[in-house]
């Protein structure tokens, strides 16, 4: 026998060999490690040249909602840190049960004490002419997905044979990728094994509305093509062109290896309740097995099988009793759920609810006061409840009248309370179908200290895959931890299940540098975010990495991209900076000239003590800025989530009541803080006496001068909800006023959420917290101030001057001009 590097001589533990690096094989090993990590030396053989990934998530990968890294269950570190030898890409081709040796295609021979077969299933290829043509594939592994993505890049027509779960997910993905997709289904109803006719029809309508062609009752005669696939011919003679054909008609347990080894094989490899085959040293688990006459092609039964298998391997057998399965279609925007038996028949009663306008169809099948099946279309929120009642065989006679309206109504609540619904689920109700996690497991994981969605995902994996159960997990967090512990944070937007604070913390902790990196590492569910999250991420990155982060212009609102305020007619308004509200004849003359030269229809004095020039065309903006720059003026940032204006009164220099030089201080503060990007707009004012003519007590940061020094106020707002400032503290000198101002701005920049003004931020965190960071902590305040000034060293370039010199000219010019008359002539 060839010497194998996989069997270190020193290790005398029993050797467990697992054939199959898929979901079943690895889950079995995980369950075993959880019980007794040291008991076996483990070697896993896999056919695919990659680590263990979540096969049921291939559909979202195809649809572009996930990438391969997102669906990896166990990365290379997992194998390494658990001492597992992985042989990937060299499949086992023979088992010698006499000698207890397996042999790979590459010639490696390895002896075992226990052998676990987890070979899963093979796609069924219908035996029609042309099935072996290049371009005809199954939908089973990552290689198939890569083939489909390559085909989609080239565009054209695709035919999916099979209108079941897998076929429809393949069709959806290819359609999203831009291919013209036809689904050929032999049966009259789509997904007939999971859906009844009514739900199948609704599904067909929805898919057709998305541009797919669905042919039911269509029988494939042959696949045609010369050297590669060119089309599919039906038995009725119809020819459908196709450059890609995906066969998704079904799967068969992969049993060849077991059969060759002489194990008892029926439809699958026959196993007992402890997943032991006809040879006591050989076990089998997953889609390749037949248990009690049943074979399963869905993921859920795996979890129970692996549990009983691991219990048996550590000699505490519990036994597997078979599974009732439920199905969810992973086509975004179309909610379909089914469970149990919905074929009807003697003694079965149907309870049906149809809401045509909402596109909802619900059907619950009851026999002898017990739910035997459920089909939900359009509203699947109660799927797990029906499934739980079904598995438990609960008597539903008391609930019957309200059953179809869902758990909230049936429980007597009237109004839907999702928390009550989750509370009513039993401990072994499944929460996460992707990873087989029950309510009891999630609750115990929370009880052991997982107090956020993120940590729950990290520990028990609930909602870590497709995320469709995120709401359930959040409700469990809220239920288990009560109101005094913060429940799940509100997510940033629909693209992520993380809240602003989580995203921000991770950006800093992982030193992320770009928006795509954040989306990748934090599992964004959309390929490139949305108009809510992209500007927020752009801000968080530039705040975390000033000077290092390259701004993403396409993630800014138009006003910040064009450095001017868009108006409802598509023109822009331009506000040059007037330091502290002071101006002079040169500036006023330049503004007057611009108004005339560019035909601005209106010029207005703003509330922030500056002048706003209206009606400037996008094309003219660079020239306007050049003229204003020439008179010494820079951008007023009236368009940005940024420092806007510092409003002042005339102060001690002129006013008979003035106590300090409020105008001079205002100018100094504006010179220090202009150009800084903020979570939202930020306004400052300095009043020279408590009469407060500059309205400093409704600004984000306000200074009110008094005889003995400067009162510093924070968190005011003069908008829809007028809020007077909170007094932060009083300081003696101008320098201190400036330092505290810089520190406060930086605290706001670093800790407020994007688009949160100072007023709601302070109401959220409390003014005492602000005082503790700014007024009571000299070292901390100084550090904040230093960070602000560091950031400012990168941001005080006038964006107008850059544009006036020709930077990013494409923002201001059309790509082409088209004059119809000339073209016709």
């Amino acid at each position: 026998m060839e010497h194998s590097p996989l069997s270190p001589d020193a290790d005398t533990r029993e050797h467990l060999i697992v054939i199959g690096n898929g979901m079943a094989g690895c889950r079995a090993v995980e369950e075993l490690l959880a019980r007794d990590p040291a008991r076996y030396r483990v070697t896993i053989f896999g056919t695919e040249p990659r680590v263990n990934y979540n096969r049921i998530m291939l559909s979202p990968v195809l649809a572009g909602e996930k990438c391969f890294d997102d669906i990896v269950i166990n990365d290379a570190d997992w194998y390494k840190s658990n001492g597992i030898a992985l042989v990937a890409g060299d499949p086992v081709v023979g088992i010698d049960r006499e000698a207890k040796i397996v042999t790979t295609r590459g010639g490696v021979a390895e002896s075992y004490d226990k052998l676990l077969i987890a070979t899963g299933s093979d796609p069924f290829i219908i035996p029609v002419p042309g099935k072996d043509l290049p371009g005809v594939i199954a939908f089973r592994d990552m290689d198939d997905v890569d083939t489909m993505l390559a085909a989609a890049d080239a565009g054209g027509d695709a035919v999916v044979i099979g209108g079941g779960l897998l076929g429809l997910e393949a069709a959806h993905g290819l359609s999203l990728r831009g291919m013209k997709v036809t689904v050929i289904h032999l049966m009259p109803t789509l997904m007939e094994r999971q859906l009844d006719e009514a739900a199948g029809w609704l599904l067909k309508q929805a898919l057709e509305a998305r541009g797919q062609t669905i042919l039911t009752g269509a029988d494939t005669a042959e696949i045609v093509g010369d050297g590669k696939v060119e089309g599919v011919k039906l038995k009725d003679g119809t020819l459908i062109p196709a450059s890609l054909v995906v066969m998704a008609v079904g799967i068969r347990p992969s049993t060849q290896l077991a059969r060759d080894a002489g194990l008892a094989v029926g439809r699958g490899i026959q196993v007992d309740d402890h997943m032991v085959t006809s040879d006591p040293s050989v076990l089998a688990v997953g889609e390749c097995v037949e248990h009690d006459g049943q074979v399963y092609g869905l993921v859920a039964p795996l979890w129970d099988m692996c549990r009983s298998l691991a219990d048996g391997l550590v000699e505490k057998p519990t036994g597997y009793r078979g599974s009732v399965t439920s199905t969810k279609l992973k086509v975004s925007g179309i909610d379909v759920f089914s469970a149990g038996d919905f074929s009807g028949g003697d003694g079965c009663e149907d309870i049906v609810l149809r809401d045509a306008s909402r596109g909802v169809y619900k059907r619950v099948i009851v026999r002898d006061d017990r739910i035997v099946g459920a089909v939900l279309y359009g509203d699947t929120a109660d799927g797990s409840w029906y499934f739980d009642l079904l598995k438990k065989q609960e008597d539903v006679s008391q609930l019957r009248d309200l059953l179809i309206f869902g758990q909230a109504f049936a429980a007597g609540g009237g109004a839907a309370d999702p928390k009550a619904a989750v509370a009513a689920l039993s401990d072994d109700a499944e929460i996460c179908g992707c990873n087989g996690v029950t309510k009891g497991q999630v609750v115990s994981c929370i009880a052991k200290g997982a107090h956020s969605l993120d940590t729950v995902r990290g520990t028990c994996k609930a909602s870590a895959s497709c995320g469709s159960c995120t709401g359930l997990v959040e409700n469990l967090l809220a239920l288990t931890l009560g109101d005094d512990v913060q429940s799940g944070p509100k997510t940033m937007c629909k693209c992520t299940s993380f809240g602003h604070d989580d995203v921000r913390r991770e950006i800093v902790a992982q030193a992320m540098r770009s928006i795509p990196e954040v989306m990748q590492k934090l599992h964004w569910t959309t390929p490139d975010g949305c108009s809510s999250c992209r500007p927020a991420l752009n801000y968080y990155l530039l705040c975390a990495l000033p000077g290092d982060y390259v701004d993403d212009q396409q993630s800014r609102f138009v006003n910040e991209r064009l450095h001017a305020n868009i108006q409802k007619d598509g023109t822009y308004s331009v506000v040059p900076r007037m330091w502290g509200g002071l101006t002079n004849p040169t500036e006023l003359r330049a503004i007057a000239d611009v108004v005339e030269k560019y035909d601005a229809p209106m010029v207005k004095v703003t509330g922030g003590q500056r002048l706003d020039i209206f009606g400037i065309k996008k094309e003219d903006l660079p020239a306007v800025w050049a003229d204003l720059n020439a008179a010494g003026m820079v951008s007023g940032h009236a368009y940005g989530k940024a420092l806007r204006t510092v409003k002042t009164c005339v102060g001690s220099e002129w006013c008979r009541f003035g106590t300090q030089d409020s105008t001079g201080l205002g100018v100094k503060i504006e010179r220090m803080s202009w150009g800084s990007w903020m979570p939202h707009k930020f306004k400052i004012a300095v009043s020279g006496c408590p009469r407060n003519c500059a309205e400093a007590t409704i600004k984000d940061f306000g200074v009110v001068c008094v005889d003995s020094g400067y009162e510093l106020h924070v968190g005011g707002n003069g908008g829809i909800h007028v809020r007077a400032t909170d007094l932060l503290c009083k300081v003696a000198t101008e320098e201190e006023a400036m330092d505290y101002c810089a520190a406060f701005i930086q605290l706001y920049r670093e800790e407020a959420r994007y688009l949160e003004r100072t007023a709601p931020w302070i109401e959220r965190v409390g003014v005492d917290y602000i005082k503790s960071r700014i007024a009571d902590d000299d070292t901390g305040r100084e550090a904040l101030r230093a960070r602000f000034l560091h950031a400012q060293s990168f941001s005080q370039d006038d964006p107008w001057a850059q544009r006036a010199e020709g930077a990013e000219a494409e923002h201001h010019a059309p790509m082409a001009r088209f004059t119809p008359q000339k073209e016709i002539a």
């Binding site: 490139d528 409802k568 059309p814």
Partner: protein, 114 residues
């Protein structure tokens, strides 16, 4: 230059920023907005939101949609339809890419911009 009776040659695809937009000025009519998605697909729409006529070319492009800068309506780049709860439609103009050049349909451009 491959401008023909049917197609107008607008320029190189690289002139449109990824997840961004450029416009074509049509004399006597509204602008046409060209969009380029993260996936590299190019679409053309009339540069006018069906809601309050905002300039779609100034919006944020994400996925296969653009968010109007005025009131954040999301408009499908492929169909011109408002997405979500909003109702309305902006005329679309067929686009094809030929050897890296962006071509838009002449007849649709005239019709949309008129």
């Amino acid at each position: 230059m491959t401008t023909t009776a049917e197609w107008l040659d607008i320029g190189w695809i690289d002139q449109i920023p990824v997840r961004g937009s450029r416009t074509v000025q049509v004399e006597g009519g509204d602008d046409i907005a060209l969009f380029r998605t993260a996936e590299g697909k190019v679409f053309a729409l009339l540069d006018r939101c069906p809601h309050k006529h905002g300039r779609l070319s100034q919006g944020i492009v994400h996925g296969g949609a653009v968010a109007c800068p005025l009131h954040n309506w999301r408009i499908s780049l492929s169909t011109g339809e408002a997405l979500g709860e909003d109702k309305g439609c902006t005329p679309t103009v067929p686009v094809k890419i030929d050897g890296g050049r962006v071509l838009i349909c002449r007849a649709s451009t005239l019709k949309a911009a008129a």
